[in-house]
């Protein structure tokens, strides 16, 4: 047993200098602009229908391909019944085994409902988003499948509890209509996955690592968080031994995935939410943000930016708009770092964002999409890391990573497009920020039609303020590693 004093000041030598691995990708990647909506194009006078329609059209074909492969149309028999394809939900005939493609709709008791608000006359107040959409009576929850012709209630509790289905996903279901309007679901088919960019992983390439951190939750006041200080010192290389500095120097970029500042406390507790009315000019309309914490965030970045390029994504609690995709934070918030703003050194990104590291495609969100789906699940479910990974896996299966927008997540009304649908590309790495715990796994999928298979590295990035954890993603091997700072 080595006495711990032997470790004192081991490898602490005042001579070594480290140069950071820098990874610069000059190739043009149009998807980086995917979620940017220019100010003059921000028109809110459109209907969301067009977005749903686009999603349905795009994914339907891809589902039919997979479904034909799996179930066939009048070619396969199960238990003496022939499986037939129905084009429309309305065409389903009672007692006959068939499959049909449609959009899932979940009717939950506590979902926000604009009609109720209008009825009560409170539609000018931004409603408080509930912690769960499921009401007290969990049996009141109904999952339906709909298309332009009609709706059918999906029935089979066991199946539905195993397979997550939320509003907005497009799926193909196999089953029998057992009574009028009720469809007993037996199997499910997801859309054909979009192709992945060919990627060759070479461990020796030395692209370095990216550090992903989320939920810094900087606060105002003198209560500075020592963890943040240690984080700064770690990523800039002054903390620990030469070995630690060496690891830190392999980090080529820090991605901050949302929730960098904490909203004012009283605001979240306040039962009287009058201040969020559409009356933006009244005395009751108080800012949710403390400018001090924004200044602190700016200062925090300044300490890091001397050594490490940073990308900042807005999150739910940041000073951005409520609608997804969230646009980059305003440059005024990075006042003391203005000199870094013009290059790639300090990137202000959208949420979600498609990162591009050479051939590697990384899709990241600040976590709202996962949090929202958790609200669809039974109240007793805890946000265990396995569940988070299952939700993320579902995102890839559905080929849509924010299906609940625009139903329960505020969203910009896209005209005949849906950037949240994986139309032409599946990422290699997909991360979500602001989760309770770190989790990571590789999700491998096989395409039935083309025989292509792919794998997506899923990473759930925890809130730093609660866990003190940041995630290092190796760009060469796609391995992830957690660095925990503990007090």
């Amino acid at each position: 047993m080595v006495e711990f004093t032997d470790y004192f000041n081991r490898e602490v030598t005042p001579s070594t200098e480290y140069t950071r691995t820098s990874f610069k990708d000059s190739s043009d990647y149009p998807k980086q602009e995917e979620f940017i909506i220019s100010a003059k194009d921000r028109k809110y006078d459109r209907q969301y229908f067009s977005m749903y329609q686009y999603r349905f059209k795009n994914l339907k074909e891809r589902i039919i391909g997979n479904a034909i492969q799996k179930w066939g149309d009048g070619t396969k028999r199960v238990n003496g019944q022939t499986i037939v394809k129905q084009d429309k939900i309305l065409d389903i005939t009672s007692g006959k085994l068939c499959w049909v493609v449609g959009t899932v709709f979940c009717d939950l008791k506590d979902k926000l409902n604009i009609f109720q608000d209008v009825e009560k006359g409170i539609d000018d107040v931004l409603p408080l988003v509930p912690d769960s959409y499921v009401g007290d009576d969990e049996n009141s929850m109904t999952t339906m499948l709909e298309d332009e012709s009609g709706r059918a209630i999906l029935h089979n509790e066991e199946f539905l509890s195993k397979n997550i289905l939320v509003t907005g996903c497009i799926v193909g279901v196999l089953g029998i209509e057992i009574s009028a309007g009720i469809f007993e679901i037996m199997d499910i088919v997801y859309p054909e996955a979009s192709p992945q960019k060919p990627l060759t992983l070479k461990a020796s390439e030395g692209k370095g690592k990216v550090a992903i951190v989320s939920g810094l939750n900087l606060e105002e006041g003198v209560d500075a968080d020592l963890k943040l200080e240690l984080l700064k010192q770690y990523v800039t290389g002054s903390l620990g031994s030469s070995e630690d500095s060496k690891t830190a120097s392999s980090v080529c970029r820090l991605i901050i995935a949302g929730d960098s500042v904490k909203p004012i406390k009283e605001m979240s507790d306040r039962s009287n939410r009058d201040f969020v009315t559409t009356n933006n000019y009244g005395s009751k309309n108080i800012s949710q943000y403390n400018p001090e914490s924004l200044v602190k965030f700016d200062e925090f970045l300044r300490e890091i930016l001397v050594s490490l390029p940073v990308s900042v994504m807005p999150g739910n609690n940041d000073m951005g708009e409520i609608c997804l995709p969230q646009q980059p934070l305003h440059k005024s918030l990075f006042h003391s770092n203005a000199r870094y703003l013009n290059g790639e050194y300090l990137e202000r990104l959208t949420n979600p964002y498609w990162f591009n590291f050479g051939e590697l495609r990384v899709l990241g969100t600040s976590g709202q999409n996962v949090h929202d789906i958790l609200k669809y699940l039974s109240k007793n479910t805890t946000a265990a890391p396995e569940l988070i990974l299952k939700i993320m896996e579902s995102h890839i299966k559905w080929q849509n990573f924010i299906p609940t927008a625009p139903d329960t997540l505020y969203c910009y009304p896209f005209d005949n497009s849906d950037p949240f649908t994986l139309v032409d590309e599946t990422p290699h790495v997909y991360f979500v920020g602001n989760q309770q715990q770190y989790a990571s796994e590789v999700y491998t999928y096989a395409s039935t039609t083309t025989g292509n298979s792919g794998s997506v590295r899923l990473v759930s990035v925890p809130r730093f303020s609660e866990t003190g954890e940041l995630v290092l993603l190796d760009l060469d091997t796609l391995e992830t590693e957690v660095v925990q700072i503990s007090l």
Binding site: N9, R10, G240, Y345, E481, S486
Partner: protein, 376 residues
């Protein structure tokens, strides 16, 4: 330990730690004295070893725990053993912060102490020499193109002042009749400038001095700027106009809204010009419709008949509007309105100016009224 601290380092540590009882972290020591962070760690731990009776230290342990890299801060030497037990493999243990045993510092306070030594981005070279990882070169924005933040400028140029002004202007407008009157006068004024150069120039002359005097009466304008702006606005940062080019480019204001805004502004301007006119009328020589001037105007019109812009109808209306406004102004001139610190409009009657006004223009107004009614 072979490392020996230099004289100045020991002096600094002794004075900060023992005399002033302030905490010292390896980072603050490195930044304060411009030494390598690892050198600072060694010096600090050496100093701590020698003064263990007076000082207490916290440590940083780095290493691995199951599948993660763990960085653990250990409160003091007693907790160190327990903390080390959490590790599967320890990379290093080094001193983090040293402070006097007499004073207990919370983690927050130590973090706050760290914040007292912010990085100075102009000295990056020194930091790199002292253990900071050298980052990729920054494509710096040229200093000259960088907008210089001037928080004072905002208070002066930004329109926050216009918000209170509008409230101040409101009561005058509230009469309802005045608003229509305003626009008519405005139109008349414009015409005057164009055509009747003689006449207007005289008015301008007489206007100038009183306006300056009168401005002292409108103290609320400046007070607002001083007291209100800093209270209500915390300017996180202020970028110059060029910095927002991107955003401004995107917003192409429609000419319609621009003209609307222009109209609005005019409205307020006019409200003020109204006041100014009052003060002019208070102190200045009688300028309103004297028979001479009317004659003069008429003469000019005759001369200017070729000028297409002025039609006789307009000028005649102008004549009638002038006197019409007078009685109203008389009422207003005795009342001063100020916006106090709470944003309330305080209306008070001023005795002195009104007396003055009576002394100078008492008779004049009477004649004006007479001439007004007489004409009709």
């Amino acid at each position: 330990m072979t490392m020996s601290a230099s004289q100045s380092e020991v002096e600094y540590l002794a004075s900060t730690l023992i005399k002033n009882e302030q905490p010292v972290t390896y980072q603050s020591l490195s930044r304060e004295l411009g030494v390598h962070v690892n050198h600072a760690k060694l010096v600090l731990s050496e100093f701590y070893e020698k003064n263990k009776d007076k000082l207490t230290a916290s440590f940083v342990i780095t290493g691995r725990n199951s599948n993660r890299t763990l960085i653990k801060l250990s409160r003091n030497e007693e907790t160190l053993e327990n903390d080390v037990a959490q590790f599967d493999r320890v990379t290093t243990i080094h001193i983090y912060c040293v402070h006097s045993k007499q004073v207990i510092f919370s983690n927050n306070e130590i973090a706050f102490e760290e914040l007292k030594h912010p990085i100075d981005s102009s000295k990056t070279e020194i930091y790199i020499k002292n253990g900071l990882i050298k980052g990729p070169t920054v494509k710096e924005v040229e200093k000259s193109t960088l907008p210089i933040p001037t928080p004072t400028k905002t208070s002066a140029t930004r329109p926050p002042a216009s918000v209170p002004t509008s409230t101040a202007a409101k009561p005058a407008k509230s009469a309802g009749i005045t608003s229509s009157y305003v626009s008519r006068k405005q139109a008349a004024n414009d015409k005057k400038v164009n055509t009747l150069s003689n006449y207007t120039s005289r008015k301008e002359e007489s206007k100038r001095k009183p306006v300056e005097q009168a401005s002292s009466g409108y103290q609320y304008k400046s007070r607002k700027l001083d007291t209100k702006t800093p209270k209500e606005r915390v300017i996180v940062s202020n970028h110059g106009p060029d910095d927002d080019v991107e955003a401004e480019d995107d917003f192409v204001p429609t000419s319609k809204s621009a003209s609307k805004k222009g109209d609005l502004e005019k409205l307020f301007e006019d409200e003020f010009s109204d006041f100014e006119d009052d003060s002019v009328l208070d102190n200045a020589e009688p300028i309103a419709v004297d028979d001479n001037i009317v004659n003069e105007v008429e003469k000019l019109e005759v001369n200017d008949e070729t000028a297409s812009q002025t039609s006789p109808q307009i000028t005649s209306r102008q004549q009638s509007t002038e006197p019409e406004s007078l009685p109203e102004k008389e009422e207003e001139e005795e009342i001063t309105q100020e916006v106090d610190e709470d944003g309330y409009i305080v209306t008070s009657k001023k005795a002195r100016p009104s007396a003055k006004a009576k002394a100078t223009s008492g008779k004049k107004t009477q004649t004006n009224l007479m001439s007004f009614f007489g004409k009709k």
